[in-house]
Symmetry: C2
Subunit: 105 residues, 2 copies
Amino acid sequence: MAYQKALTVLSDPTRRAVFEGLRDGPAPAGLLAKRFPVSRPAVSQHLKVLRDAGLVDVERRGTSRIYSIRLDALRELRDWIDGFWDDALLQYKEALERDDGHRQN
Amino acid sequence: MAYQKALTVLSDPTRRAVFEGLRDGPAPAGLLAKRFPVSRPAVSQHLKVLRDAGLVDVERRGTSRIYSIRLDALRELRDWIDGFWDDALLQYKEALERDDGHRQN
DNA sequence: CTTTTTGGTAAGCCATGCTTTATGTAAGCG
DNA sequence: CGCTTACATAAAGCATGGCTTACCAAAAAG
């Protein structure tokens, strides 16, 4: 049930942008920070939140820390959304059929 | 690019619960409100936010208003997550192959 | 046309949390 | 060893936003 944490964490635009910055591959914190109009500590804190939520991984290499997407939490979020979508779609189809049925009566 | 609004809106636990309350089918506002430990106006406000984000639809029937899931916004969110997931998975596989390659050298 | 039912709107309080500046830490470098 | 690089952590300010109480609106019932 960690999709809830993921949703909470991905709600902030800046943090979401930081996370999306890892979409093409791992990157060091500094490089991520330079892309956004907020201070470097701000990005650092966002990364911490993302880490605590299990959305990213860190690996120290020399003085820099390489961040990367972590699949587990992302998968839970995907599964939740997909399940929700499936239910909603099914609901929609059933509603259509009910309407057709009524029209025939 | 409405997945951003969806993510923002679904970050609040109560609001998310209200939204999930529509997962099994449409429901009137009052019935939704009774399920949660917050006041009815609070739920009303959450429903307004969900409506503004395009996540739910309203239909007036008598004095009550029937809320239901709206597919469009949900689909955008699903597509974003799925795309992100695919990219992340691809990244993971490439990383594995790189490691294997290094091991063989 | 008053009352009831079912909700939405307004105002205000208060906690959460995002941001910045300042400081701390650990690894490479000369 | 200092010094620099690269980043984290701490403290504080300030805005956002969720909750409650109080009030309003519209449809149905009688």
